[in-house]
């Protein structure tokens, strides 16, 4: 056995030498130097460029625009925020927040059975099918998904065709005749906008709910049943409270994404503006950057409040 030969080498070996060895030793001696070098590039990028841009935008919301020249006046004022409170602008905010709320609720309702099934019943191959079944739509092209719904909701499209075959066309017509939710056709009605929003953000709700449900131990449900709870009581008193953090985590996505979107209502929907569209319009053609900036502060503030509430409900553990 070659190993049995008595060790004669030194207890402390010389360094590897060279630049690599010297750098290695330096990093070992002061790990803070290494940490500093590792964090500098991402912090420069995200902390300086990105956060800097965000702050610059925030700053501009405190400027105002000269009504005659159309130029930005670089003086501190709350005038632009005052403009947000105009009835037409308030309308936009209320419409967007209502839509975000409805979309979130609908997503949670549709997501729950899928997440529940995937978390508790799907095993092996089916588990993978469900996982990919959620991941693929989540990652597939946002625009393609919106486009698919333009095809579906078009007057000459598949939905009308299906209702026709079932002799249920009167249902669509009746719904479209309703005030507020109705319109000329589904693709230019708030109902259409709502459907697309739900569709596009649904996977963002399913995944966190599933993660939360997977953490519920199976024997907890058995214990509840053991203690005489009916399935619906178990659902209400055990499952729902435990899944709630997941629902809240998912709602952060659905809510935030709806608040900031400007493409879906532009392609499927009425001419009524949403916050995102207002921002886009004000910064673009109107050139009113201060008002656009003030508008972007609205979803940030709403999300800030929302996140704060969600954090208190313990939602971040399910992310």
């Amino acid at each position: 056995m070659s190993i049995a030969a008595a060790p004669a080498a030194a207890a402390i070996l010389p360094g590897r030498g060279g630049i690599g060895g010297a750098l290695s030793d330096a990093f070992w001696r002061s790990p803070k130097l290494l940490l500093f070098l590792m964090l500098t590039p991402p912090l420069l990028w995200l902390g300086v460029i990105y956060l800097g841009s965000l702050f610059a935008l925030l700053l501009q919301s405190f400027f105002s625009i000269d009504e005659f020249s159309g130029l930005v006046v670089r003086e501190f004022t709350l005038k632009t925020y005052g403009e947000l409170l105009r009835p037409s602008n308030l309308d936009i905010i209320v419409r967007t927040v209502t839509m975000a709320g409805l979309v979130t609720i609908a997503s949670a309702i549709i997501a729950f059975p899928i997440a529940y099934f995937a978390a508790r019943y799907a095993r092996g191959r089916w588990k993978a099918v469900f996982y990919l079944g959620v991941m693929l739509p989540l990652w597939s092209s946002y625009l393609v998904k919106v486009y698919a719904w333009k095809l579906i909701l078009a007057k000459e499209g598949i939905l009308t065709w299906v209702f026709e075959k079932l002799h249920l066309t009167f249902l669509i017509d009746g719904w479209l005749a309703l005030p507020v939710v109705g319109g000329n056709s589904l693709s230019v009605s708030p109902t259409g906008t709502f459907l697309v929003f739900v569709y596009v953000w649904l996977p963002f709700m399913i995944l966190p709910v599933q993660a939360a449900l997977e953490r519920v131990p199976g024997n907890l449900l058995e214990a509840s049943a053991d203690l005489g709870a009916s399935p619906s009581q178990t659902f209400r008193n055990v499952l729902l409270p435990l899944a709630l953090p997941g629902v809240i985590a998912g709602s952060i996505f659905t809510f935030s994404l709806t608040l900031g979107d400007y493409i879906i209502p532009q392609i499927v929907g009425t001419s009524h503006l949403f916050i995102g569209m207002a921002v886009y319009a004000h910064q673009g053609t109107a050139g009113n950057i201060p008002l656009a900036a003030a508008f972007t502060v609205v979803p940030v503030v709403i999300m800030g409040i929302y996140l704060w509430l969600a954090k208190r409900a313990g939602a971040f553990n399910a992310l």
Binding site: P42, W45, V144, A148, S256
Partner: protein
Amino acid sequence: MRSDKQNSTPMGLKIAAGIGLAFLHLPILLIFLYAFTTEEKSYQFPPPGLTLKWFAVTWNRPDVWEALGLSVRVASISTVIALTLGTLCAAAISQTKFFGREAISLLVILPIALPGIITGISLRSAFNLAEIPFSFWTIVLGHATFCVVVVYNNAVARFRRMSGSLIEASMDLGADGFQTFRHVILPNIGTALLAGGMLAFALSFDEVIVTTFTAGQQATLPIWMLEELVRPRQRPVTNVVAMVVVLVTFLPILAAYHLTRDGDQISGQGK
């Protein structure tokens, strides 16, 4: 582990879950059908006839190729930047403890946690303020910013599963920092980085909201599609492009899934 009662899935739940999955997938499948329709002027269903003609038409459209080329270049470079920044950040966060770790992980998530329009408009106004003209690189800058998080998430998850004593074991056996990185850290996080990179590529390839603010006259493929959606010129070409985009984004996602799944089996063997 489970009682028999639970093994039999309730019928209602099965149906609800099935309908939910169908709701997620049928619209995407519909795109595939429309790529073959003979109808040019409307979205008529069922299609009056099927044809392969539009694939040829699309193939010969230089604007589609240009947009595709730009998208691929933007996504590639954004992915490389995101890989670098995301890995550095993940390594720093998971291998050391320091004040402000929480703040940094929040900072990484911020670009996708905030609505895309905010990221877009703030970058745009920052470019304006700094008098940077719009270019290929302004698009890349925006994309890399929100792609960092997917690489970061994948890498942090893998670092977390990697037994902490592996690095010590390597150093104990005589490997210095660089040798340890090359022989132990990189092989162990490699698949996670690859998966993160692929997801970053898919994310960038598909992005439209931030891009509308950071692109000048250049059109990425999503921007091209958006224009077609707002002002349709030749609907069947859009149909074909949509189908190709679906297929192209599925590949990296499936690959990433397989990479991280195998990764789960590889790591966690420390004990």
